[in-house]
Structures are given as structure tokens and as C-alpha cells.
């Protein structure tokens, strides 16, 4: 019999291998220690001759005693040493096609270098110079203040920016590093002495961990040791600071930021424990089902059925000590309240009805596929390791997570929904 091409039945999906059947492996990170005790985690993989070096300092806003000192110190690391001007520093990295970025978070602050392997030797010594010999000139600070204030003025007109500030304040209180934000007077109040002191305490004499990844040069250890192994880092332990969470008493807030705004930024959030809590892994599956990916309940209902928004997501805030479960969207001004109503409806459904096996399998497969895709490439792998190290976890967390995704039951998911989807425990905010 002659095979007819038109016999192809397009209504039947090809056989798939369920992603839950995949055996995922996290590539082991090699660890070594520089002469001065700095721990280095490395991943050697990939084809391109490039390296990522990330220096993580315990220098986040957790450690500052005045608003935005940590962020300012981190930002100005590139703005001049006793030997080089800001221009010369930038020119040096840029000449070698290297990217030097820095970021300040709550617990930590980092310096990240992306570089072609062939130029690593030329740029590492200057990274070392930045963390030992920055001078924080007054004129650099003045320009920074002026430009940050201008930038902030623009951001303050955006409803999403304003909403992100307020919701964290409601959750943690303004005096907690997770709830604090910066206003114009905070920039105006900055002075050089405090910055120099912070730099001295948390960079020059600070605590540092290094993460490197890429198709690493054979002498990577020597290169790092030469650049950083003799610095006075990791000598002193950093004083532990504790902060009390003082959440807002009023849970439902409505703010008009722009009377002519055509959209509102909707945030709904509840406190949630950190990664060490036994529910943390399990609740990731519930979160995905609820609002964690394009096929989630929230996205299907509020975007794909009602068209209230371009996108709606739920996620956990990335904090070490305490997290928060957040639902976030920008919706048409006239449908913000309806959106909130739909979010609660979706919570109720998950509390009452068991998720059917088909949908649960889809979420499992999606999550596993997504982790598989995310393990692609040395930078992604080291990112995962960094996350574990900074949160006091090890690779067993990876395998337990995978196992949780594969085995959690519909009943457990419903129980988690009942435990955490308590409307009275959610802060609600709309900023127009």
C-alpha cells in the first residue's frame, strides 16, 4: 500500500518522555581556598573562551547604619583609586572588552567580571585595586548624588516602582533592611566619611567568597591567588545584626500616585519563612500552579481569559532570613479591584478542589524541564551554587527539590493552599 502523506494525523500529539523521568544532575562545583582563606567555588564548563568571576562581600544594606551607605559604597567602587581616575578604570576594563558590574543586595554586595580568558591577567589586578584602594572623591560622590536623585524622581512617577517600595515596607517595616527604601533626603544626607568607613569595614577588611565559571584557564587558581590571595580579607568575623520585623497594621492599602494613571500596580503579599522551612520546597510546586509560569491559574484566568493585564506572576522574595510570597501585576485602572477578587477566587479553588493529575503532571514536567534548561551553561550552574552557598544550603537541596517536584501529591498541595492562602494574612496594595 502506498503511504499517503496526507494521512499524517495532526490532532494526535507525538509521544513524549515525561520530564519527571529525567535524571537531573547538578555539576559538582570544585572548591579551593586562596592563601588568605577566601573560599572559591568554580565550575569549569562551556565552549567559549570566557570567564565569569564574582566576588561576593557581606556588604549589603543589612550592615549599614545609615540609609543607602551600602549601595553607594558598592556603586562608587569603580569611581577612582589613588592611582586611577574613574575614567581610567573604565577605560581599562573596556579596552579589554571586559564587563565589570557591581550590585548591592540585602545581605551581600558583589562585583562581577565577565572577561575573555585571554585578557583575564590584564584585568584581575585592577579588580584587586578597586577593593583595596578606592578613594571615593568628593566630586565623584557629588555627581553620583545629583544623578541618583534625578533618576529617583523619574522612577517615583512609575506606579510599579512605588508599589514595590510600599509592599516591602508593609511586610517588614521601614526599620528592617528588607522594608527600607531610599528617598531624596537620604541621598542628600550622604557624606564621604561614612562611605570610607563602610568600605574599610566591609570591603578592605571584609568577608568575601569568590565564584568563578566558564571554560576556565588552567591557571585560574594561581591567577585568583595572585590577585586576591594576599588581601587582608576574611580575618575578622562580621558582627551579627538582628532586626525585628514590624509589619503594618492596616493590611489593605490604596494609593494614588498619578491621578491620570491608566493602570494600577497591584501587589498582594504575605510573610513566608526562608528556604530552610520544611514547606519551602513543596510550596514551590503550589506557587507554579498558582502563578509561577505562563500556564498558571492566575495567568490563564486573568490574562488569557479576562484580558485584564499583560502579565501576572507570583513568586517568593529572594531573602536569606525571611521571605514573602508575592503576587504582582499591572492591570487596567478600572479592573484592579476585579483582579484582586479573581486572585482570591483562585486561592479558594486551590483550597477546596484537588488539582487533577493531568495538570499536576504538567506543572511537574514544566518545572523539571525548566531546571534542565536552566542548568545549561557554566554561568547558570554557578548561579545555582551561589544561591545554595549564600543561603547555607548544599547540593542535597537540589536533589530534594527535584524529588519534591516529582512526588508531591495533590492532597499535600491542597493542604499547603489551606495553610497559606488565608486572605486575612495577605497585604493588599494598589498604586495608580
Amino acid at each position: 500500500m502506498k503511504k499517503n502523506k496526507n494521512m499524517l494525523d495532526r490532532t494526535v500529539a507525538p509521544q513524549i518522555k515525561d520530564a519527571v523521568e529525567f535524571n537531573l544532575q547538578l555539576k559538582k562545583s570544585e572548591q579551593f581556598t586562596l592563601d588568605n582563606g577566601i573560599p572559591v567555588y568554580s565550575i569549569n564548563a562551556g565552549a567559549q573562551e570566557v570567564t565569569l568571576v564574582e566576588l561576593v562581600f557581606h556588604a549589603g544594606n543589612w550592615h549599614e547604619d545609615q540609609n543607602i551607605i551600602a549601595g553607594t559604597t558598592n556603586f562608587l567602587l569603580k569611581n577612582g583609586t589613588s592611582k586611577k581616575s574613574a575614567f581610567e578604570i573604565n577605560e581599562h576594563f573596556e579596552y579589554y572588552g571586559a564587563y565589570l558590574n557591581r550590585n548591592c543586595y540585602n545581605e551581600t554586595a558583589n562585583i562581577t567580571l565577565h572577561c575573555l580568558n585571554k585578557y583575564l591577567k590584564d584585568v584581575l589586578p585592577v579588580v584587586s585595586e578597586l577593593i583595596t584602594d578606592s578613594v571615593f572623591k568628593e566630586e565623584e560622590l557629588a555627581i553620583y548624588k545629583q544623578n541618583q536623585i534625578q533618576r529617583l524622581k523619574v522612577s517615583l512617577q512609575k506606579c510599579d516602582f512605588v508599589a514595590n517600595r510600599f509592599i516591602d515596607e508593609y511586610l517588614f517595616g521601614f526599620d528592617h533592611p528588607y522594608g527600607r527604601y531610599t528617598s531624596i533626603p537620604d541621598f542628600e544626607a550622604l557624606n564621604r566619611d561614612k562611605i570610607v568607613k563602610f568600605y574599610n569595614d566591609y570591603y578592605i577588611n571584609g568577608k568575601c567568597i569568590i565564584f568563578v565559571a566558564g571554560n576556565l584557564p588552567a591557571d585560574i587558581f594561581q591567577q585568583l591567588n595572585t590577585a586576591f590571595g594576599h588581601l587582608p580579607l576574611n580575618k575578622n568575623s562580621i558582627a551579627e545584626k538582628r532586626f525585628t520585623i514590624s509589619p503594618a497594621t492596616e493590611k489593605k492599602q490604596r494609593v494614588i500616585n498619578d491621578p491620570n494613571g491608566v493602570q494600577g500596580a497591584v501587589r498582594m503579599a504575605r510573610p513566608f519563612p526562608n528556604r530552610h522551612h520544611p514547606d519551602f520546597m513543596k510550596v514551590q510546586v503550589l506557587n507554579n500552579l498558582f502563578g509561577g509560569f505562563f500556564g498558571s491559574r492566575l495567568m490563564s484566568n486573568i490574562r488569557e481569559d479576562k484580558g485584564y493585564t499583560y502579565g501576572i506572576h507570583s513568586y517568593f522574595e529572594n531573602h536569606v532570613q525571611d521571605s514573602a510570597w508575592m503576587i504582582s501585576t499591572e492591570a487596567g485602572r478600572d479592573v484592579c479591584e476585579a483582579t484582586i477578587g479573581e486572585v482570591y477566587k483562585e486561592m479558594e479553588i486551590l483550597k477546596e478542589e484537588l488539582v487533577d493529575e493531568e495538570e499536576l503532571l504538567l506543572v511537574r514536567n514544566y518545572m523539571i524541564g525548566s531546571i534542565l534548561g536552566d542548568l545549561d551553561g557554566p554561568f547558570q550552574i554557578i548561579g545555582r551554587w551561589k544561591n545554595y552557598v549564600l543561603n547555607g544550603l548544599d547540593e542535597s537541596y537540589f536533589y530534594k527539590s527535584i524529588n519534591t517536584i516529582k512526588t508531591i501529591s495533590a492532597e499535600e498541595i491542597r493542604q499547603l493552599a489551606q495553610k497559606y492562602f488565608v486572605p486575612e494574612e495577605f497585604y493588599e496594595l494598589v498604586v495608580v
Partner: protein, 412 residues
């Protein structure tokens, strides 16, 4: 060197296979040769709205996303003024699922009223989120209209106005689909942990039976040479005055493009770039300043834009930009500065090429431009550029008669 194989199906679909067995994943990238420039001026925003509708179910498959997620896959899409791209990443064992899904929506969409109805609203919210409800959100809208008088680059991919999207009809959707979404107007790239034989077999099986369609012959009005400088003054409810200036530049395929790209890197893009050093750090006229270009297939725009430090006069800011631009026209850049931007380009390409998804995307883009092999020759095109080329190109571009200036004043 990026290795790849290329073949063409009988229906004109171009297929490129790029094997990389260091990953367990496969990438399937389908690029259609249609963008916002191909729209009817009275129905703008359509190519992008259409991209949304491509997820609303196809002729034999009710739901696009579910089976893909079930197969452990993720996908997304984007529309530019020049092209529309759809891409999937999934475990390579499930490669056939991607072929099944992508071929069915190339065969025909379901054309559902409900999907059109919802996506009209979603895109209107996207329009509001990015272009209405943000300070300076209307800037590109205005700059394009000021700079282009004939070419369809005069509107943005999101569309000229909300009403164009609100009024989109199902009949428009159908005719757009059968005009542009045909195998003969598309490029398929399959990359990652895949084999050439397998991709050939799957392409024949799933894409082979789709009717070829008519080759879309693009016949767009090209912009005439601008003979006189234009100025637009705007007042808006924003906190800071801003300055914008555009100049017409060469198309993506011109040799001149590479010189223009490098000269924009000399002017901005890093802490040691000229505009940042002179205008933000030394003269302190701007709190931020940027030089960029559209990289568009047809002749594009090079733009310098910046927000003024409070209290600085627009005319002083404008004059300072002019001085930097004049320097580019009158003096050769020194070798170290030229080498710096070439090194930056080399490095950027190396980092981009780390991801299989980016490689697949670039191969599709270059194939659509005319030759996937550009993937491997681009860097040498940049290396060939000399200081004289940069100076000559600066003289061409930075002609005052070729410029469009917008003074964007704060009402407050």
C-alpha cells in the same frame, strides 16, 4: 566558528541545523519575514497583535502552551519592525512536540473570536503599561513620526494608536496569516542536542505537507534623503527635561553599518565613552546620556538622548552634544580607542554565543537577512573598519540637514 547545515524543503521553507551535544536541550526557532513595517498605515500594531494570536490555538491543536509545558518546554516570541520570531526550548527527547506545534500553527490558526477578543485587551494593557503609563513613554512614538515621513518605520511595533488594535477584525487576521505566515516566508532553525538526519525527517514529516504559499515581495516606500533639519518641542508631565536627536543611517546590510555601529560605541556604552565622560562627568550637563541605533534592516536611525541636570538650559546641552559630534567629524579616533570598541564587539559576540538559544536566533536572523554565514563573518567586518571609515561615516551621518531634534520639557 559556528557549524551548521542548511537545506530547503520543496515548499520553500529554509531549515538550518546547528548541533551542540554539550546540552541536553533542543531549541526550535521559527522566524517569519514580517514585521511592523509590513503593516497597513491604518492598521498598525497588527504584526505584534498577531504574534499574540499565534498562541490562541491552531487548526488541529486547541491549546499551544499546554502540550509544550507537558513536554518540559518553554517558549516565547517577539515582534520587531522587521521580523517576527517564535522560539522554544525543550528537552531534546521531546523535539517532535515542537515540530508538531510549530507546523500546525504554520498550517493554519484556529482563528477564534474569543482569542482575538482577549488578546486585543491584553495588547492594549501592554500598550498602556509601556507607552502611556510611564514617564517619557511616548518618546519613540514622537521620534519615529518626526524622523520618518515615508517609510513605515514611522510607527512603533506596538502600533500608532490604541484604536488600531481595538478595531482589529478576524478578517484582517486571516488575510495577514495567509499572506505572511507561509513556509516560503519563514526560516526554521533547530539547534542543540539534535542530529541533522532527525531534523530532516521531522521537517519533511511535519512541515513538508504545508502549502508553499506566495512569496511576499516587499515593496515599501523608502525614505527620501532628508534635506532640512527638523525640530519638535514637547511639554510633558515629567520631572526632568530631556534631549533627543536622531540622524538617518545606513541599512543593516550596508558596509557603512559597521562603522556606524562602532562610532555609536565610541560615543556611548561605557564609563569611558566620550559622551558620558564629557557631558555627565566633566561638564555635568546630563545626568544620563546614551547613543544607540536601531540596527534595522532598512535604513535606520542613530540617536543621542539624555536627561538634563536640573537647571541646565536646553541650548547648552544641545551645544555640548554638537561639539562631541563635530569632533567625530573633524578628528580621527586614535587606534587604542578604536581597538577598545572592536574588543568590546568581540567580547559581546562571545558572550552572546554562549547560549544555544541566542545562536539559533542569530542564525535565523542572518538567514532572513540573506545568508546564515554572516554569523561567522560579522566579526571580521568590524575588524576591517579603520579610523578613516569612522570619520567618513561620522561626516555622512552627522550632517545637520540629516537630523531631527526633540526638546522634551518638563512641565513641572
Amino acid at each position: 566558528m559556528i557549524q551548521y547545515e542548511r537545506f530547503v524543503l520543496d515548499n520553500g521553507l529554509r531549515v538550518i541545523v546547528h548541533e551542540d551535544h554539550s546540552t541536553p536541550m533542543a531549541v526550535v526557532n521559527v522566524m517569519y519575514d514580517v514585521g511592523a513595517r509590513d503593516e497597513n498605515p491604518n492598521k498598525t500594531g497588527f504584526a505584534h497583535l498577531f504574534e499574540h494570536l499565534m498562541f490562541g490555538g491552531s487548526i488541529n491543536i486547541e491549546d499551544y502552551d499546554e502540550p509544550l509545558q507537558m513536554a518540559g518546554g518553554e517558549n516565547n516570541a517577539y515582534t520587531t519592525n522587521d521580523l517576527t520570531n517564535y522560539y522554544i526550548q525543550l528537552p531534546s527527547e521531546n523535539l517532535e512536540t515542537a515540530f508538531w506545534l510549530e507546523s500546525d500553527r504554520m498550517l493554519s490558526l484556529a482563528f477564534s473570536e474569543k482569542s482575538l477578543d482577549v488578546q486585543r485587551k491584553v495588547v492594549c494593557e501592554e500598550f498602556k503599561e509601556h507607552y502611556i503609563n510611564k514617564p517619557y513613554g511616548d518618546v519613540w512614538h514622537k521620534l519615529r513620526e518626526l524622523s520618518y515621513k515615508e517609510h513605515p518605520y514611522r510607527w512603533m511595533t506596538i502600533g500608532k494608536e490604541l484604536s488600531h488594535i481595538e478595531n482589529a477584525q478576524l478578517a484582517d487576521v486571516k488575510s495577514f496569516f495567509f499572506k505572511h505566515y507561509r513556509p516560503v516566508n519563514a526560516v526554521l532553525v533547530v539547534a542543540g542536542h539534535v542530529s541533522l538526519d532527525e531534523v530532516k525527517r521531522l521537517s519533511d514529516k511535519w512541515f513538508g505537507p504545508i502549502p508553499m504559499g506566495e512569496k511576499y515581495i516587499r515593496n515599501l516606500p523608502q525614505e527620501s534623503k532628508q534635506m532640512q533639519a527638523r525640530l519638535l518641542e514637547v511639554e510633558a508631565d515629567v520631572p526632568l527635561d530631556a534631549f533627543y536627536k536622531t540622524w538617518h543611517m545606513a541599512s543593516r546590510l550596508s558596509k557603512r553599518y559597521y562603522a556606524a555601529d562602532l562610532l555609536s560605541d565610541i560615543l556611548s556604552g561605557g564609563g569611558s565613552s566620550r559622551l558620558y565622560q564629557a557631558l555627565v562627568k566633566e561638564k555635568q550637563l546630563f545626568s544620563q546620556v546614551d547613543c544607540s541605533h536601531m540596527g534595522s534592516v532598512d535604513a535606520g536611525l542613530l540617536t543621542i538622548e539624555g536627561k538634563l541636570v536640573k537647571g541646565v538650559k536646553m541650548s547648552d546641552a544641545e551645544q555640548a552634544v554638537k561639539e562631541e559630534v563635530e569632533k567625530m567629524k573633524s578628528e580621527l579616533v586614535n587606534e587604542a580607542e578604536l581597538q577598545k570598541v572592536k574588543n568590546k564587539t568581540e567580547s559581546m559576540i562571545a558572550f552572546e554565543d554562549m547560549s544555544v538559544m541566542n545562536r539559533a536566533n542569530s542564525l535565523a536572523t542572518y538567514e532572513l537577512l540573506g545568508d546564515a554565514e554572516m554569523m561567522n563573518t560579522e566579526l571580521s567586518r568590524y575588524q576591517e573598519i579603520t579610523a578613516e571609515d569612522i570619520k567618513k561615516e561620522s561626516e555622512e551621518i552627522f550632517d545637520e540637514n540629516n537630523s531631527n531634534t526633540m526638546h522634551y520639557f518638563s512641565k513641572n
